[in-house]
Amino acid sequence: MTAFTTHMELTVPSAGQRIRELVRYRQLMWMLAWRDIRVRYKHSILGAAWAVVPPAAMMVIFTFVFGEVVEVERERLTGNETIPYSLFAFSGLVPWMFFANGLTSAIGSLVSNRPLVTKIYFPREVFPLSAIVSAFLDFVIASVVLVILSALLHYYPNGWHFQASWTIALIPIVVLVQITFMAGLGLLLSMANLFYRDVGFLFRSIIQLWMFVTCVVYQLEATAPWKRILIQLNPMTPIIRAYRECLIYGQAPFDGPFLYAAVVSFLALAIGWTWFRRREFEFAENI
């Protein structure tokens, strides 16, 4: 057991101290994420297979609505074949659902763990971060299905050929950028929600809109020019696009917009986390 001294004053722990503390409590983060998953699927027959259902259902909906309307085949395809819209939509929906679900549960995480926040001490970052980790596990399961679906569509009647490109190996970098962005927003918004519950309500509406300001189910090129500025300012647009480029188009995604998204994500984490550490000691008495 390591001995350490706690000295409490009105000082904010330094980032280094805090990282050491988080490392010490890393198992707790996994445990909380595991608990979430365990409790979520405990009384269901399909269990974790439910992770695939929401993006799949959304895919069916969008295929039904947009299937013939949106032309997605004209963009940067290798060869002359077309990508089935359903795959296009699913490849955007899987990471998007990770973003939306992960953030939604991260935002409520401090408030829903009130007994722990007010009764036991450990770094409070653990709550929003573990909420993101538990959404990430759902994302991994859905991703496996996404990859299998892509491979199966190799035999798509129109003859589109899925080629497992080396760029699939770049996906972890895209995931990392997305998680950085989510962690930054998650820390910031979970704290804001603790002080003002309005934040949670507001977010649930905004996230619906946000999806349509992100190119989840259509291409940027398919939108009206005046909307594109807003869509391009949104860091989730290049992130979702990067997934598709790695998986479907076989291209490395590191262009200007993606770099922009990476910088915004890093800034979000830096700001969110610093602010979180400054206000953390007020959580227990304000929750």
Binding site: T6, P115, D198
Partner: protein
């Protein structure tokens, strides 16, 4: 000697009501710029000091009690020590790993099994997985829930729940242990086990801070104790003296002039006098004590009767009751406006603990009850030869007997041991 806990001039303020109930209020207050209207004391109108000028040390291997009425700030102090809250002024330093038993099983999830919750709760308390693997058997054994390890804990009884919670926390191997009123759950046997476990901690040099309303356990377990009320330290010293101090303070508080309407009788505060004629509130088991109160009659009574009862505070068990009528004592008729002094002498053949004294005055003929009050308390501290409720004046003898003579009773003895 190094100190485990050093608390120096700690102040903590709280806010009445919410800071802002919603974003709307918050935006409103930002716009009006009315933040920062501070009085000279450092408080604004909605704030108050929950704790003031807290200064104390706890040494390794020492049990330190904190006692005081509800709302005095005991739990706030523990939360400050645990790092859940931060002081507004002053410093707290703690040497080593802290384990706080502020609420047993705070991290339990009802849908998870006992086994899963052990791992979960241990992680919350800062234990590593390997450490838990290593101590798993001990934790299960101590909690006594082996048969229900794979049952979701929503099916547990509240006693099992508490036992599991304490058991996990007790295996953290802290350097500083904070305990808040958690032993009030669980049965007697388990409570005794917990106390033993905590004594074991003390032997290993763990500093224990113990908050409880069970004054008896504070007096017997702690080395030193602190009395706080309204956020201020009233007394710090030996545990038994602190308990006695607190006790006396409680009695002073409950003796405020009665605001009741003019009733059948007025009853003076009850006095407790020992054999040598001194007023006291703290006695030893078996001590002879005189209970005395004055009654002024606001109405005439043909045959006034005076009752007395001794009630254990902890579980409100009536240890003893009697009345002048039951004792066939003839009281003279009461004339309106006159006074009587009632004096009961009893032997305090009760186990150590805190007791309420109840008394009543009634008119036998008209069946009018005048008063039944339980606002006077006494404390019995010290060794007693008996436990339980009744002192049956035991005598004991042990002698050798012929083993053959003994055979016929073996079956009975066996059953007695098993039950």
């Amino acid at each position: 000697m190094t100190k485990s806990i050093n608390v120096n001039g700690v102040f903590k303020k709280f806010r009445r009501g919410e800071r802002h109930n919603s974003l709307r209020d918050a935006v409103g207050s930002w716009l009006r710029l009315d933040r920062g209207h501070r009085r000279s004391s450092g408080l604004d109108a909605a704030e108050f000091w929950a704790l003031q000028e807290m200064t104390f040390d706890v040494q390794p291997g020492e049990a330190f009690g904190i006692i005081g009425p509800n709302g005095a700030g005991k739990s706030t102090m523990l939360k400050l020590l645990a790092g859940i809250l931060r002081p507004n002024r002053g410093t707290i330093s703690i040497e080593g790993r802290v384990s706080a038993l502020i609420e047993v099983g705070a991290g339990f999830h009802p849908d998870l099994t006992g086994r899963e919750n052990i791992y979960m709760n241990a992680a919350i308390l800062g234990m590593r997985r390997k450490e838990v693997d290593h101590k798993f058997e001990d934790i299960v054994e101590f909690a006594g829930i082996r048969d229900f390890l794979d049952t979701p804990i929503k099916r547990y009884s509240s006693g099992m729940y508490a036992r599991l919670g304490f058991s996990v926390a007790a295996h953290v191997e802290p350097d500083v242990l904070l305990v808040d009123e958690v032993l009030s759950v669980g049965d007697r046997v388990f409570r005794a086990k917990c106390m033993d476990k905590m004594r074991g901690f003390l032997d290993r040099g763990v500093a224990v801070v113990y908050v409880s309303h069970d004054l008896r356990s504070v007096a017997s377990f702690c080395d030193r104790a602190m009395v706080i009320s309204d956020g201020c330290i009233q007394y710090t010293g030996g545990a038994a003296e602190a308990v006695a101090q607190y006790h006396e303070a409680c009695i002073d508080a409950s003796m405020l002039p009665s605001t009741r309407k003019r009733s059948l009788v007025d009853v003076s505060p009850v006095r407790f006098v020992d054999k040598s004629g001194r007023d006291k509130q703290t006695f030893t088991p078996g001590e002879e004590i005189t209970i005395e109160f004055d009654v002024r009659y606001n109405h005439a009574m043909a045959r006034p009767s005076f009752g007395l009862s001794l009630i254990r505070t902890e579980d409100r068990l009536v240890m003893f009751e009697t009345s002048s009528t039951r004792m066939h004592y003839q009281t003279p008729p009461a004339v309106e406006g006159t006074c009587s002094r009632v004096r009961y002498r009893i032997a305090l053949n009760v186990p150590p603990g805190e007791y309420l004294i109840g008394y009543h005055v009634r008119d036998r003929d008209s069946a009018l009850y005048a008063a039944m009050q339980e606002d006077a308390r006494i404390m019995v501290i010290g060794e007693s030869i008996s436990g339980g409720v009744a002192d049956l004046a035991p005598k004991v003898a042990v002698e050798d007997v012929d083993p053959r003579q003994h055979e016929m009773n073996v079956a009975n003895v066996g059953r007695a041991v098993a039950s």
